[in-house]
Subunit: 109 residues, 3 copies
């Protein structure tokens, strides 16, 4: 038995939750802030048997992997003219920070 | 020293909190969602000496054990007539998912 | 790799967060309640390499250590006259409950 603690961006929260539950993983979500991921994020607590650990990690990686996304062009109005980009800019989004912890006992009451 | 992480239904939150504190356990509560327990739930973090671990687990089991509870009969008005049950229905409530984690160091500053 | 779980009073939250991030620790914060610290508190999750564990603990101790703080004199109006203290009273504030947990795997996706 392992306990996975995964901190992911809020934007990936529902997608990851859906994917894990679809594969019968048990998922508890805690609202969190800060961390390497600056924006609001979610801390997933996932209990898994040792032989499904890699599967769970693959699902997290697949759904939350850090990637680039086109941001809408910034308007020069009300902003820094210097920073004005008349073309779409790629900004990094997503990413997951994942701890795998040993579990001494697991109970379901 | 062990760290107990227990996910319980919100309905059992206050009862469990009271019972643990009465026995001098230190309890921290985090609001959480999802998991095997579909409704809103609470994640308890409890630090305990090894020789009181079983006592803490017994308190959690005693206060949160999965059980049946009578639900009020569903009115046929505004609902599915097929699903109408003119007698009280027993629905499962409660339950706790409990992880016991090893602790390498404990500090109280 | 270690995972530090530190429960601190809300009053020390921003100071601790700033001090940890300034030293390049990765910090995730969860809003929590109860515990030895009766007031609202924050649970910090900090991942650290083994060789920086003591540094992280020192920062927590330095910023959250239990100490006394002058409370404003209580007015006898609208309060218990017996409890009236015409001089500043020192009340204990701060403190941190800290668990250091072993980590089997760490991933950054
Ligand atoms: Ni699907
Ligand atoms: Ni009582
Ligand atoms: Ni500074």
């Amino acid at each position: 038995m392992k306990l996975i603690m995964a901190i992911v961006q809020d934007r990936d929260r529902n997608k990851l939750s859906h994917a894990l539950i679809e594969q019968n993983f048990r998922v508890t979500k805690l609202s969190s802030t800060g961390g390497f991921l600056k924006a609001g994020n979610t801390t997933f607590i996932i209990g898994t048997d040792d032989d499904r650990l890699q599967e769970a990690l693959d699902i997290i990686k697949h759904n939350c992997k850090s990637r680039e996304q086109a941001a809408p062009p910034v308007s020069p109005m009300g902003g820094n003219v210097e920073a004005y980009a008349p073309y779409p800019v790629e900004i990094p989004v997503g990413g997951a920070t994942v701890f795998v912890l040993p579990v001494e006992q697991f109970h379901q009451f």
